[in-house]
C-alpha cells in the first residue's frame, strides 16, 4: 500500500489541542486559538535539557534515604533500593518486583529510550523508524507510574504517626525522586516524535 502524504505536503499542520488541521502558516489554531507549530519548538534541546536534569537528580534520588522509620527501638532510614530489598527479604517478592520496576527499571529505561531517540534523530537516522516510534509511545504511557514510590511514602507517612511508639517520615531522597519523574515526563513531552520521520525527507527546517 502506498504511504499516506505528510501534512507538510498538503500545507497543513496539526493542532495538538483539538486535532484540527491548521493551515501551515498559521501561528494560532483557528478553532481553539492555541499556538500551533509545525514541530515542537526547540524539541531536541529541551528534551536533552530535561533528560540531563533527570539523570542528575537520579543520583541523589537513589543514594539519599527516602523514608525514616522509627519502630519501638531505634530508627532506620531507607533508600529506594534498601526498601526493595527489605520487601524481598520479608517474602513479599511481588511488591519488591513492583517497586523495583516502577522506581528503577522504568526511569532507567526512559533514560535509555529518550537518549537513543535523541541521538538517532540528530543523526537523521532511518533505522527502525516504526520501532522507535513505538518505543516513544511506550515511554509516554509508562512514564508516570514511577510516581508510585512517592505516593506510597506519602500514604505511609500520613498513617504511621504514633508519637512514642512508631513514626514514619519522608526524607530528602523522595524529593529528588519525584523530580526525576517530573523531569522525565517533561522530557518525553518535549520530544516531538515527528522528528523521527523527518529523516525520510530532507528539506525540513
Amino acid at each position: 500500500m502506498s504511504k499516506p502524504p505528510y501534512a507538510r505536503e498538503l500545507k497543513v499542520c496539526l493542532c495538538h489541542i483539538c486535532g484540527f488541521a491548521c493551515p501551515q502558516d498559521a501561528h494560532e489554531c483557528p478553532r481553539c486559538f492555541s499556538p500551533v507549530h509545525v514541530r515542537k519548538t526547540n524539541s531536541l534541546a529541551r528534551t536533552w535539557a530535561f533528560l540531563i536534569a533527570s539523570i542528575i537528580f537520579y543520583v541523589p534520588a537513589n543514594t539519599l534515604p527516602v523514608m525514616y522509620t522509627s519502630m519501638f527501638s531505634g530508627g532506620s532510614e531507607n533508600t529506594i533500593m534498601s526498601g526493595v530489598i527489605e520487601f524481598w527479604q520479608h517474602g513479599s517478592w511481588d511488591i519488591a518486583i513492583l517497586i523495583f520496576i516502577a522506581s528503577v527499571a522504568v526511569p532507567c529505561m526512559k533514560f535509555c529510550v529518550l537518549g537513543t531517540l535523541l541521538i538517532t534523530c540528530q543523526r537523521r537516522s532511518c533505522w527502525a523508524m516504526r520501532e522507535r516510534a513505538k518505543l516513544y509511545r511506550f515511554v509516554e504511557v509508562i512514564g508516570y507510574w514511577s510516581m508510585l514510590d512517592v505516593l506510597v511514602v506519602a500514604v505511609v507517612a500520613a498513617l504511621v504517626q504514633f508519637r512514642a511508639l512508631s513514626t514514619i517520615e519522608p526524607r530528602l531522597g523522595i524529593l529528588f525522586f519525584g523530580l526525576v519523574v517530573v523531569m522525565t515526563m517533561l522530557s518525553a513531552m518535549s520530544f516531538d516524535p515527528r522528528l523521527i520521520w523527518d529523516a525520510e525527507v530532507n528539506d525540513v527546517e
Binding site: K3, P4, P5, Y6, A7, R8, E9, V12, C13, L14, H16, I17, C18, G19, F20, A21, P30, R31, C32, F33, S34, F87, S92, I95, L98, R130, A133, K134, Y136, R137, Y144, W145, M147, L148, V150, L151, V152, V153, A154, V155, V156, A157, A158, L159, V160, Q161, L165, S166, E169, P170, R171, I174, L175, G178, L179, V182, P193, R194, I196, W197
Partner: protein, 203 residues
C-alpha cells in the same frame, strides 16, 4: 481545498488521512507509524455528563473520608488523601507535596470541574463561556492526573503496613477506586468530539 475537519493528522508522524466513520469499538491506526489515530467514541454527551456528575460525588467521598485505618497496640490512626499530601510537606521537601497534590487531588478536581462546565453547556447544545480555554486546560491536565498510580500506591502501602500492624481500608478508598475508573472513562479523548458536536466556529 477539501473541507479541513475531514482530515485527520497522525500526531506521531504527521501523516494525513481522510476521516472515515468508525464502528463501535473500532480504532483507526496509522499505516506509517502504527499509532492509534482515532477511536470510535464510547459515550455521547449525555452519558459523559452523567459520568462527570458521578465522578464529582465520588471525588467528594474520596476526599472527605479516610482512605485507610491502622491500629497498633490499642492506638489507632487514619489518613485522608489530603493528609497524605500534607505528610510530604515537611521543610525542604515541600515541593514534592505540591507535585503529589497536583497528581492526586488538584488535577482530578480541575478535570471534573472543567468537564462539568463544558459538558453541562454541551448537554443543552451550547458552547460554554470560555470553552476554548477549558478544553486547552483539560488537554494539559491529562498527563498530570495520576489517580490510578495513587490507587496502586495505597495497595502497596496496605501490604507494606499489614506486616506490622492492623490495616483496614476506609470509605475513601472505595470511593477513590470508583473515581479512578470514572476519570479514565471521562477524561480521555472522547471529549474532543465536542469540537465537532458543537460546531465550534472556525476563525
Amino acid at each position: 481545498m477539501p473541507q479541513q475537519p475531514d482530515w485527520i493528522i497522525c500526531e506521531h508522524c504527521d501523516s494525513v488521512y481522510h476521516r472515515r466513520p468508525l464502528a463501535r469499538g473500532e480504532a483507526a491506526r496509522c499505516i506509517r507509524c502504527d499509532a492509534v489515530i482515532e477511536r470510535s467514541r464510547r459515550f455521547n454527551v449525555e452519558q459523559l455528563f452523567a459520568l462527570t456528575l458521578a465522578a464529582a460525588i465520588m471525588f467528594i467521598f474520596a476526599n472527605a473520608f479516610p482512605i485507610m485505618h491502622i491500629s497498633l497496640q490499642g492506638l489507632s490512626n487514619e489518613a485522608t488523601l489530603w493528609e497524605s499530601v500534607q505528610a510530604l510537606a515537611q521543610g525542604r521537601i515541600t515541593l514534592i507535596a505540591l507535585v503529589a497534590g497536583l497528581a492526586i487531588i488538584f488535577a482530578p478536581l480541575f478535570q471534573i470541574l472543567l468537564l462539568g462546565w463544558v459538558l453541562g453547556y454541551a448537554y443543552v447544545g451550547e458552547i460554554a463561556p470560555g470553552f476554548r480555554a477549558c478544553m486547552r486546560a483539560l488537554e494539559h491536565l491529562r498527563p498530570w492526573s495520576m489517580l490510578e498510580v495513587c490507587l496502586l500506591g495505597i495497595l502497596v502501602a496496605i501490604i507494606k503496613l499489614a506486616g506490622m500492624l492492623n490495616v483496614s481500608p476506609g470509605i475513601g478508598l472505595w470511593a477513590m477506586a470508583m473515581l479512578t475508573v470514572l476519570i479514565i472513562l471521562i477524561a480521555g479523548r472522547d471529549i474532543r468530539y465536542l469540537w465537532d458536536d458543537l460546531k465550534v466556529p472556525i476563525a
